[in-house]
């Protein structure tokens, strides 16, 4: 070990100390995309609308009657992506039962929540209260807009819309 130390001490280094001030580039940002700060921030607490939630769905066009085909598609998705945690009755499983959800919440709120759960759980007073009961954040189940709309139709069917 002594010899190693000797070797290290004796060795020659040619580091010059001509420092150039380095501009620290931020590689966390996508160079091609506009910075996140410059985009309008939809999670701003002041702007939060508890009737609509956060997300791209601003108005949902519900028909006068139930669309049976859409509801049937929604039911298929429900069995794969939702039924593990939600019953169709008002009984809580992991999350609350679905019965009555379309009467309690606006369609826009439902569409936004199921496609964009994380930001809404952070902001929505009703969801925060729900989180204290359930203690599991609803996962993002990667629903497409069409999936979400079909699910909403199935929820309506579950609530007795004909």
């Amino acid at each position: 070990m002594y010899k190693l130390t000797f070797f290290v001490v004796a060795f020659v280094m040619l580091t010059s100390c001509g420092d150039k001030t380095k501009t620290n580039d931020d590689f966390s940002k996508d160079a091609a995309a506009p910075s996140e700060e410059s985009a309008t921030n939809p999670t701003d607490a002041v702007a939060y609308d508890p009737n609509r939630g956060i997300g791209k769905h601003t108005s949902v066009d519900l028909g006068d009657k139930l669309d049976e085909a859409m509801a049937a598609e929604g039911e298929k998705i429900q069995s794969v992506k939702c039924s593990s945690c939600h019953k169709l009755t008002d009984e809580k499983l992991v999350g609350p039962g679905w019965k009555g959800v379309t009467l309690r919440q606006k369609p826009e709120w439902i569409m936004n929540f199921i496609t964009n759960p994380d930001p809404m759980i952070d902001k929505d007073p009703a969801l925060q209260a729900q989180l204290e009961l359930c203690l599991v954040r609803m996962p993002n189940q990667a629903l497409t807009d069409i999936d979400a709309r079909n699910l909403l139709e199935f929820m309506r069917k579950n609530d007795g819309v004909k």
Binding site: M13, T15, D19, F27
Partner: protein, 657 residues
């Protein structure tokens, strides 16, 4: 490492230190005052480069960020990984199948990233297995090993997996020449010169990355060590270094170090393609495995191939030429222009630089020094551009910064030397701690290097870190090479023994369409359960198939009864989550293989044979939610022959009132 060797190498190092021009007081002086700032990547911020580092005898590949040297991932390639279940789960076992059966380990030396027009393109990384010769492909969208091909007629697949500049081929070579697989290998070892052959494999890479051995070139029995493809003007050629031109079969340390020069062989693979078209290849019998991963069924399959196309380097005279190279060359590195081929004779005290133009001219004018077992040997001077004089001792490997400079590691004198390719003048030298093998500059072996950082991978660590008993991690040192002088920035331990590394700008990979989870709709696993209503348990004779789902935070089913001692139980676990970074684990008491780590939307299978009667809890091993501790279940095991009916349930198996 014995004492005499250390002493003598240190003495040599100190002598070589006189080449330098100033003396630091201690190693701390080696680090400039702004080094910390240059490697600091603030919390939440990303690194500038991905750095893929071979794992050597760990059989894995580690992924670091540069310049922070933060470890991002360790990817199992040739080794079983109990953490993920790779090599243990039923789906992944075929990935490690070979003609020798299931081989769950290897010595992973070199990596090469796919290239387009000679530039790294961030699609795949290829990895070699040295021990049981194989090449693997890792997909950089999933950071997962997706294909492994075995190489027949080979042993010690060392000069691999280097690629051509549009990833047309990935090559392999045999470091330990052996009798071909199809010949009788049961011969006396001292018949090496008669019976042993070297094989170079050219593996075609398809548009989706799929590998297929296009042809092998049979060569005399030599130890093929490293290789690199030509670039630009020399595209169409491949260069392989070799040692043991003495063809020794015992005490190689002495007997393979006698000749002043061994060889770099230039292979004209475009010409080889022409010969194949003209029907000059010979199909010979061989047995080798080709294993592929299917991202839709989440399952690997292994197929055994039975023949390979071989070209004879003696018969087909204008595909192979030998260039004499001092002395037992290791690195065989082509500069970004494709004109200069740098040989690193690991016992030499100079670096020969060969010229592609001169080599072609010498071939045209037949400036040969006879032949070596039928392969023309080009006159050394006829192919030589020049020599770097007194660069240090024991050159191993050279990479390039794209600014006309080369950087060579010296094992014996424990340093890196920067030199000018055109003038062959030495520009700078730095000590490294201790005894480097390879170094890596992002893109440094391609046509477009990013000459900002250099990482040096050292074989000896000694006193660099807090001691950890007899076994130490190996040492990597990061340098800033953006200026005239190389500046040491950081020193950090590594996983396994890194031999070679590849790096690419972070954006190239993080924006390549990174997969975040598997779409459950696209899951075509034969035992998938798409939703809890498909969760079930089925008995087929003594096989019990459990179709299980997992979602935060429960399994379906979680009460299973009617399993008997000696049954083969298959847990097919589907993770129903559809969001990034929500894997679930699965483990059951007494499992003698591993756990499973199942990515969102994936199905994975653990085989379990209960050996005794009793109650066996299973649970999620990956902390998934506030109710993770509750994510568990029971499996009841009854004696063989028991009449307990097979039942499964979730939330309904309540006590009788």
């Amino acid at each position: 490492m014995n004492n005499i060797f250390i002493k003598s190498s240190l003495a040599i190092v100190l002598v070589s230190a006189f080449f330098g021009s100033c003396r630091p007081k201690d190693t701390a002086d080696a680090v400039g005052g702004d080094a910390a700032q240059k490697v600091y990547v603030a919390p939440g911020k990303y690194d500038e480069f991905y750095n893929f580092v071979s794992g050597g005898f760990s059989g894995q590949m580690s992924v670091y960020g540069l310049p922070s040297a933060r470890l991002l991932r360790v990817i199992p390639i040739f080794s079983q990984d109990p953490q993920s279940g790779y090599g243990y789960s039923e789906e992944t076992k075929p990935m490690l199948n070979t003609s020798h059966g299931y081989v769950p380990w290897d010595d992973q030396h070199h990596l090469n990233m796919s290239q387009t027009k000679g530039e790294v393109d961030g699609r795949w990384i290829f990895a070699n297995a040295n021990n049981t010769p194989r090449i693997a492909r890792v997909d950089l969208k999933t950071f997962k090993t997706v294909e492994i091909i075995e190489l027949p007629n080979s042993a010690g697949n060392h000069s691999s997996p280097f690629i051509t500049e549009n990833t047309e081929y990935v090559v392999a070579g045999t470091r330990f020449s052996v009798p071909p697989d199809n010949d009788n290998g049961d011969v006396p070892i001292n018949t090496y010169k008669d019976n042993f052959k070297g094989y170079l494999s050219f593996v075609k890479v398809g548009k989706e990355g799929q590998m297929d051995i296009a042809f092998q070139i049979e060569t005399p029995g030599l130890n093929w060590d490293l290789s690199h493809a030509g670039k630009g003007k020399s595209h169409g050629w491949f260069f392989f270094s070799c040692y043991n031109s003495e063809q020794a079969n015992t005490l190689l340390e002495v007997n393979a170090s006698k000749n002043d020069k061994d060889f770099i062989m230039a292979v004209n693979w475009k010409k080889a393609e022409e010969y194949i078209k003209a029907g000059k290849g010979k199909k010979i019998k061989a047995k080798y495995a080709h294993n592929t991963w299917d991202e839709k069924t989440h399952t690997a399959k292994s197929e055994m191939r039975t023949e390979v196309l071989v070209l004879d380097s003696k018969m087909l005279k204008d595909i192979c030429y030998l260039i004499p190279c001092p002395k037992s060359p290791h690195g065989c590195d082509v500069d970004p222009t494709g004109e200069y081929i740098v040989g690193s004779g690991k016992l030499a005290a100079l670096i020969p630089v060969f010229s592609f133009d001169k080599m072609k001219n010498a071939i045209a004018k037949k400036q040969f020094d006879g032949d070596y077992e039928g392969i023309p040997v080009i006159k050394y001077e006829a192919a030589l551009y020049g020599e770097v004089k007194k660069p240090g001792l024991g050159p191993l490997h050279t990479e390039f910064d794209g600014k006309g400079n080369a950087y060579t590691t010296f094992f014996v004198s424990s340093e890196v030397v920067k030199w000018d390719i055109k003038t062959l003048k030495i520009l700078d030298r730095v000590p490294v701690y201790y005894s480097p093998g390879h170094l890596s500059i992002p893109g440094g072996d391609s046509r477009k290097p990013f000459g900002k950082y250099m990482v040096v991978y050292n074989k000896i660590t000694k006193d660099r870190y807090l001691p950890t008993g007899p076994e130490l991690a190996q040492a990597a040192q990061l340098f800033d090479i953006s200026g005239d002088k190389m500046k040491l920035l950081l020193d950090y331990p590594t996983i396994g023994e890194p031999h070679y590394a590849q790096s690419a700008p972070a954006d190239l990979i993080r924006n390549n369409g990174q997969l975040k989870f598997y779409k459950i709709e696209e899951n075509n696993h034969p035992y998938v359960a798409k939703g809890e209503k498909e969760a079930k348990v089925i008995r087929k004779g003594n096989q019990v198939h459990v179709y299980m789902t997992s979602i935060r935070s429960h399994f379906a089913s979680d009460n299973i009864e009617g399993v008997k001692v000696g049954d083969e139980v298959y847990f097919h676990v589907t993770n129903l989550e559809q969001d990034w970074d929500v894997p679930h684990g699965f483990a059951i008491k007494g499992a003698d293989n591993a756990e499973l780590l199942i990515m969102p939307g994936e199905t994975s299978t653990l085989k379990w044979i209960p050996k005794k009667v009793g109650m066996f809890p299973f649970y999620c091993t990956d902390f998934c939610s506030a109710l993770h501790q509750e994510m568990s279940g029971y499996l009841r095991v009854s004696p063989a022959g028991s009449s307990v009916p097979l039942t499964f349930s979730l939330g309904t198996n309540m006590p009788a009132k």
